[in-house]
Subunit: 103 residues, 2 copies
Amino acid sequence: MSIPNTIKRQARPTHPGEMLREDFLPDFKLTVSGLAMALGVSRQTINELVHERRAVSPEMAIRLSRLFGNTPEFWLNAQRAVDLWDANQTITNVEKITPLKFA
Amino acid sequence: MSIPNTIKRQARPTHPGEMLREDFLPDFKLTVSGLAMALGVSRQTINELVHERRAVSPEMAIRLSRLFGNTPEFWLNAQRAVDLWDANQTITNVEKITPLKFA
DNA sequence: GGATGTTGACATGTGTCACGTGACACAATA
DNA sequence: TATTGTGTCACGTGACACATGTCAACATCC
């Protein structure tokens, strides 16, 4: 049984950068520089990504999925979960929005 | 049977702004200004959204889902489909990325 | 018919962010 | 010693979400 999705998760979801750092880099025996070269992006980009200071862009998701043999959605799902969690922390005045019924 | 996801869709997916314009605004009898007020954002924001000149941000997805009684994921899924399609059109040098095997 | 208000569009400005390049210091290793 | 990897900084550029202000067109009401 899963947790009903009406219950908000308290902990911030796993950032895709953490997945890279903890799982993908070790599993594929890759370094930050190696991954950057393999993807055709700058070292800086990967460095900031694995340190969770940057989000996975759609382009980056395509590149990662191509290299690791998964889907862009895999990466963007993880990213979206984080984005949504962050937005929920910072959003204001949502409570003023009254749910609507069909007219 | 669904289409294998290895086959690329040719047409650009439906932009969330089109959904708003074609479905939600008429169904809920809302104007651009009315929606803006209901969501607590500027008229300009909604105007650009329904004209598909702006993307649905995570914050906006939360607001929309709260007003219309659906989920943020509903809006962000639609947005992501568009983003991914666009990225696939503009991305370069992906073919240079060689798929990896486990080390 | 004129005042008022609502709507949609445009311009402008601001802040954020992904990305690149180049440089530096420090480690570990060949 | 020379090389390679890492983390970090300083730039700059282009996109883009958002607010504010303005304006013309249109409706509505007195």
